[in-house]
Symmetry: C2
Subunit: 324 residues, 2 copies
Amino acid sequence: MPHIDQIEEAAARLVGVSVQTPLLRNSELDDAVGGSVLLKPECLQVTGSFKIRGAYNLMSQLGKREAKNGVVAWSSGNHAQGVAAAGALLGIPTSIVMPEDAPRAKLENTRRLGGEVITYDRYNGDREVIARELATQRGAALVPSYDHPLIIAGQGTVGLEIAADAAALQRLPDQVLIPCGGGGLSSGCAVALKSRLPGVEVYVIEPAEFDDTARSFASGNRVRVDASARSICDALQTAMPGELTFPIIQALASGVLTVTDAEVRAAMRFAFRHLKLVVEPGGAVALAAILSGKLEMAGKTTAVVLSGGNVDAEFFGEVQAEPN
Amino acid sequence: MPHIDQIEEAAARLVGVSVQTPLLRNSELDDAVGGSVLLKPECLQVTGSFKIRGAYNLMSQLGKREAKNGVVAWSSGNHAQGVAAAGALLGIPTSIVMPEDAPRAKLENTRRLGGEVITYDRYNGDREVIARELATQRGAALVPSYDHPLIIAGQGTVGLEIAADAAALQRLPDQVLIPCGGGGLSSGCAVALKSRLPGVEVYVIEPAEFDDTARSFASGNRVRVDASARSICDALQTAMPGELTFPIIQALASGVLTVTDAEVRAAMRFAFRHLKLVVEPGGAVALAAILSGKLEMAGKTTAVVLSGGNVDAEFFGEVQAEPN
């Protein structure tokens, strides 16, 4: 488990690189859920998701020789952009293996940031194998999307900022909800939050179709789910929790909750209509959890991480056009 | 001209009522305009626009007898929501005359906030006459949407926050761009900004079809334009600058710039794709001005107010679907 000092070191490295996203309040949201909510909108982060935090933290600590050969990563799109942006800032060539059906915006932005994009078929290929082969060929370092201490520490800076800004607002959260794919963000934030706010309850939120962390949490062992399942939460389609991330979640989280695609779509509409924020499906799962009543909110202050906002206009418009 | 002390008093009244919206940075925007930009997203404000600031500042200072009879206002939608929300907080009944073709979201939200909505035909009726008659009948106070010292002072708190947050970021703006309808926001902000940052240049931005302030600024006298013109900027369709607001703009602004509907649509797309913010047409005019190259940006820090985000999903989707 990373020590809080490692998350503080990551925060120091990220000064001037990542945006210290604000902690927002919204009275219509408070009314809708019957409690007090603090929103951490990482959709406003550089590259539109929290991923630059971990990617930059790791990549800025590569040795000169390693950096020269470039890095390889695999990603459904947000980690891809984080890696490409960090590479552009650090002068490190980046290659990222991405599913060919990733949101167009994610593919285009990764290329625009200077990343070399290698696509594969999500349902028939194994991106990890492709990436590892490429890294070996080129002598390049791998930048994992969650299962690495420096990635976990980088993503944990989100939790540090929540604790600091909530203290400044004089409204400490009783519970914090964090979207979970492989668990880098949720495990890092759990360490930061439990260190800064010892009584806080941390909840991890997954799409119902990729409930590997929920099943693993219930059984006490890492469980693999069907990787070919379909979910609109393209950023959270991880079939098994990480080797490093899961024990942290198991030790520190109070629970793992799941939300359906319909609940996520409703949350994206709420974000558009009332929060005026563009939130992608995977970024909206924690918001979906509170809007669909999965947790007691009355008399409590609940912090919710909106982890990303990279969504294609066409799909976004389709969701917004649905009746509420 | 309101004194800076009156804007500070308004800020004190608004503590716990309005949101201190953040000052955001976005590297993709900086790259796109070739300069350093600070964004003030009032779309994240209570009711989705800055309007609650002025409405609450005025309405919280009504006498008990005045308050009992309620208030009447006229508005294309954002002031309506600000007045209704302030009324709900203060226990003051509110009636608002709104065009029947106002965005559905604005009509619905005003009603949801407890406002009585009276619709009229924008192209054949005179909302001011309707509102004044209603106020006389009921012995109700009028809450003007811009031409009142307490409204101007309330909207000016946006400028105070920009100056304070820019100082905290150690990045003071050289120029600030502010959307302009009747001029309440821009005149109030001009007073606050010129007081706090004496060397700052303030620019006021209008839709090209409602360039009354630009024409007035050029001629030195208040000019009226065709009130039946069409613009997508429903929040900024004012045919003549205010009696109180215009002299302030004339004295303090460095210039008045106009943007076309096409430039506004492109700005709304940029906000969706890169800023992850929902910005309504009128709220996007200042962003449109910098994205379309109306001002020198190189080597400068430019603050831009995004004044609102109340836009119907259908129209928003139509704009997002257009090629860039």
